[in-house]
Symmetry: C2
Subunit: 679 residues, 2 copies
């Protein structure tokens, strides 16, 4: 449940579509869906007698994991637990088979086996990684029943489909404090993601402290950066949750912030200032000077003392080549070395950097652009251009990750993310050998339009759908089941400290001053930010733009609108109950009447004044919807009450207003169309 | 605004009583109210040009404070800010006069002067403490206006009335993790409280790591305790917010947890186990053995390496003397030393402990019971028995603090806390010299009925009212103004990371399983936990009792019920508008109709099943209210529609049900009485 619904109206007949045969039991709100689940009869009660004991191999991460598990369980149920870890009487016994790698490796065994009987539970796993995943599954199984909290009797055998299940956070465009990173790592753990990709540098800021090159943050960060000890803490924090940390330092482009302190790295003349605009910028490193590579080599060396992961991401995306074109020395260098174009120059640069990465015993990772015919086969390609380039890399012998379809900053629906598969499209035609080179994928959270207050809502709960795509079997694709389970997991994530549900209310309150936010919340509950890159087309934004408007305060996907659309779909399909009609009517009435109540208070500030046309439009659209609904319910002649002007009103309402999409328009158009089709 | 209101109905005519002459402008939602406020014309805009620079004395706490200020302001407004701290062009200039003590001292100057013009702001203070307070005032001044975010033109001169403004948290009965402590320190900073009193040991647990005596936590903590480095971090965290940390190790009683690992300290035979019940327990330290004092001395010595504050709290409350009575050696010792009763024996113990505390250069603090005629004059008395004992201490020459009236775990109203004054009652008759010995007060959060999920709601926002009592002038006592400002401050506190508003929703969701929580939220919005110690009379509780019922999920004070009562008060007083009648009617209708919708889902679990009679009673009471309202509005003859059975229904509904008070009953009784009085 979201805040929006609290303000909405009754949804007595929440559309719970019965799960298809091959789908998991909807009553088990597990996410990601495990590989094998076998339900039994009865439940294991979770009361104050609950204890958990560790048995088997003693990994240093297990005792902290056990403590956190107890803490979470206690918060979830309100029951205080003994934390004595006695082996003989424990309700949940955890048996760890053996050691896992000192630095978590790609492809390590992450499987676990969980058996719950009415009196005991047993979690076994070959190593600590599986144990940590199994504990999260157990926590997801805890639900309220007529007899209090319990876990259903069940046997689960589980392991992931892909070994690389990541979340990238861009902390460079808008800096994100340590606690934001930590709570998102908690979220990742809950849905069994295992790679945190930390995008640490950009034109707009350099966020990682270097002691060798202090001006990187000294001049390139606005004072907002992570100290080395903070980064080490995050690596440790992640490791304790079964998560690897892959740092990214994007080069040779996206590098303006480097040049503020070290202009000698750049291909242009400078001086450079921290970039305040968004978009693709000209500055690029100078690949012709040996001093550039010396700098990069030393810098990578320093960073590898902080980030032990085997992989090191060097970006490589979106070079426009303008600084190279404008620099005669670089042109001369290209001629002398037979580099026919800027792509060839970048390949030269990448090849040099790859050697520096390898010299520090790391495997290089980069975005699509780093792939060239002669790219070493161990280089991992992160695809942002699409499944085609991912398949191409696999065919060429390189391993890769999918991020296309997983850009969570673009405000697509959870369903869209969910159905994007790393092995769909061109990937489906790969040989089994080539398919193995597709390691998985990464949700990508770019941060032009997010602050620490907003970011959780852009990542969660939709990233849980991506996590399931990357963990669960390829044929687990029931969107309705996913949404039903995601609603439960979303609540859990919020209670683990993420703020994706609660962030709206305080933002509405600040926009409203001392006005009641109730009517603004009604409007907020049915609008969405524009999808893709449309937001930037609707209004100019830069780093200075306050992110304090309604578009920033609403989640990317309107739960209310989605449910309304489901009700409308049932009506239009002709299989609606009277309750469906009643619900649709109540909703449309609420929205229709809201403008009269909201409008007066919108004038109070510029930030809300821009919402007046949107609010009015919602009212008009809902009025049309009410008439169409009435026509349908009473089987009246087609278009009995829908006029030409109504059609124009709907057409106009399709366009974003105040940089927001009115999500009621499409379902109302469905109603109008269905009414019109009546004979 | 609370969640409850979101689910409630329109409150279009929120009762904003105009401030009395001597009260601060209600439009300035400052809390605590400053000593002198002078409003000017216009505002200082807070936009992306805002900068803040530090000038004057460089205290190490200032730069972190400036950074946090920028972070908070950015979160509050959604505007990213430069953080370059350039002096010449800053919008807000902070001038620090000089040094403050290396360890923050009681009575240090905390004053500041804040001047806001339409173009600039200047904050000056003699030291970092005043700067930190002034920054919080500035943050409270930031509001939304027709032109976006701004601060009103204003000049403020401010300093506290009392030098000791504390919050005690009992982390022993229910352990509270570090992040709970930190976010509550953030809350304290926001309302200018300056002492965190950390109640670290109890019968139910010992929460501070000792390296000399590792079994204190090894056997006495269930594994839930703070490491020494965590405690040092909290001391530092608090110091960075202008807050002293006074640790409390309660002795000679409330000490069962010490004895689990070190039974030789006890007066009884043992063996001892961690106490799982609440209440006053028999175990007491053995004051007759030198080894006891040797232990205490070494332990205090160790703790003073962690806690640098000049004050050290040794508890001393609630000894029942039973272990002493039962021990012949102790009886013999009392005879031999002429100690006529257990009070005398405790005085002997306290005097010994006071010397140990003094030997480590600390000033002893204790609860009422430590005061004896020969108590050294520097010992500070914390009064939990009432203003009388506080005044008695002051008369005897000892300094003291008031905690009576500030027990926030007892679910009293903010108004009750607000009106409790350290210098009321017997305190009012003290001489000026004696009054100076009253140092201030402390909110006390005892933790029998709280978990880390619930605790913020028990402390906030009501503790802001206590903070104002202790900071602002004695005659600042307008309860309506306080509630209006507290509502705004409450929102800010929530956005600073406290969870006192958001905690309800996830708890209701967990109680409901996958049922919609909307109707449960309506019930939740008008009930309150029992006041004082009544909860324990209604049901048996111990450490094992799950705190996951509705009584745990609702705030101590129902905002909805309070506002409804205000509307009813206006109706009864005969100065209600038609809107008042309309509001009352909408509310009563909502509550009346709620039971039919809620009742079916309550059967789903034991935790909600117990709410059925309460929900039904709310419906009945509201129906009576609707009829009385109708009688009043239509000036119908007295008792036109209220029957004898209605009166019995109301009488019955006064009693708590499911350990909850129905806060609608009293206002409905007011309506019935007013209707009955009509002629």
């Amino acid at each position: 449940m979201r805040v929006a619904l609290l303000c909405g109206i009754s949804l007595t007949a929440f559309l719970r579509i019965p799960p298809a045969q091959s789908q998991p039991d909807a009553a088990l709100a597990l996410m990601p869906v495990p590989l094998h689940v076998s339900r039994g009869e009865g439940v294991l009660k979770i009361d104050s007698n609950f204890t958990i004991a560790l048995d088997g191999f003693k990994d240093s991460r297990l005792e902290p994991a056990r403590k956190r598990f107890i803490g979470t369980l206690s918060r979830e149920t309100g029951i205080p637990y003994h934390d004595e870890g006695t082996k003989s009487e424990a309700v949940l016994t955890v048996k760890t088979g053996g050691v896992s790698d000192a630095v978590q490796q790609l492809g390590e065994n992450e499987s676990y086996h969980l058996e719950v009987t009415p009196t005991h539970a047993l979690l076994t796993a070959p190593n600590a990684l599986g144990v940590m995943h199994g504990l999260q599954t157990f926590l997801q199984l805890v639900t309220i029943t007529p007899e209090g909290f319990s876990v259903p009797v069940v046997t689960i055998d589980d392991e992931p489909r892909f070994p690389w299940r990541g979340l990238m956070i861009d902390v460079a465009r808008h800096f994100q404090p340590i606690d934001v990173i930590e709570r998102n790592l908690d979220g990742m753990e809950a849905v069994k993601m295992n790679v945190f990709h930390w995008h640490l540098s950009e034109n707009q800021g350099f966020r990682a402290e270097s002691k060798i090159y202090p001006l990187l943050t000294g001049k390139g960060s606005d004072g907002a950066y992570y100290t080395q000890s903070q980064m080490r803490e995050i690596v440790e924090y992640a490791r304790n949750r079964g998560i690897r940390v892959v740092p990214e330092f994007d080069m040779p482009c996206h590098t303006t912030a480097w040049f503020v302190g070290y202009p000698e790295l750049a291909s242009g003349k400078g001086p450079y200032k921290i970039e305040r605009k968004w978009g693709i910028m000209d500055p690029a490193m100078d690949p012709t000077r040996e001093s550039t590579f010396e700098f990069i080599g030393k810098f990578i060396g320093e960073m590898t003392t902080i980030f032990p992961d085997a992989y090191f991401h060097v970006g490589g995306d979106e070079c426009n080549g303008k600084e190279w074109d404008a620099n005669p020395r670089i042109k001369e260098f290209m001629r002398a070395h037979g580099l026919k174009d800027n792509a060839a120059l970048q390949s030269y640069f990448t090849a040099r950097v790859q050697k520096l990465v390898a010299a520090h015993h790391r495997i290089m990772e980069g975005w699509d652009e780093v792939l060239a015919p002669n790219t070493p086969k161990d280089v991992v390609i992160q695809s942002w251009r699409g499944p085609k380039s991912l398949a191409a890399a696999a065919k060429q012998g390189n391993r890769g990750l999918l991020s296309t379809g997983y850009y969570v900053d673009l405000n697509e629906s959870a369903a869209q993310h969910y159905l994007a598969d790393p092995l769909a499209g061109d990937g489906a035609n790969l040989t089994p050998e080539e398919k193995k080179r597709v390691l998985g994928g990464e949700a990508a959270m770019w941060s032009e339009f997010t602050t620490s207050e907003i970011i959780d809502s852009r990542i969660w709960p939709r990233t849980a759908a991506i996590a399931e795509r990357l963990w669960s079997a390829q044929d687990v694709r029931d969107v309705d089941s996913m949404y039903a389970r995601m609603a439960v997991v979303s609540d859990k994530l919020e209670s683990y400290g993420l703020t994706h549900q609660s962030f709206t209310r305080p933002m509405l309150q600040r926009m409203s001053g001392d006005a009641d936010t109730k009517y603004l919340a009604v409007l907020a509950s049915v609008v969405q930010p524009p999808m893709g890159y449309q937001r930037e087309e609707l209004k100019e934004y830069d780093w200075y733009s306050p992110l304090n408007h309604l578009v920033d305060a609403v989640p990317p996907e309107s739960e209310t609108a989605r449910k309304f659309k489901n009700v409308v779909a049932a009506i239009v399909a002709g299989n609606a109950s009277p309750e469906h009609y009643q619900e649709a009517k109540e909703w449309l009435t609420l929205w229709h009447e809201n403008d009269a109540k909201l409008a007066p208070s919108l004038k109070r500030s510029d930030i809300t004044a821009e919402l007046a046309p949107l609010s009015q439009s919602l009212s008009q659209v809902s009025a049309i919807g009410l008439r169409a609904l009435d026509d349908l319910q009473n089987h009246r002649a087609a278009n009995a009450s829908i006029t030409q002007s109504d059609t124009q009103t709907l057409k106009a309402a399709e366009k974003p207003q105040a940089v927001l999409r009115n999500m009621v328009v499409a379902p109302v158009e469905m109603l109008v169309q269905a009414a019109g089709a009546q004979r």
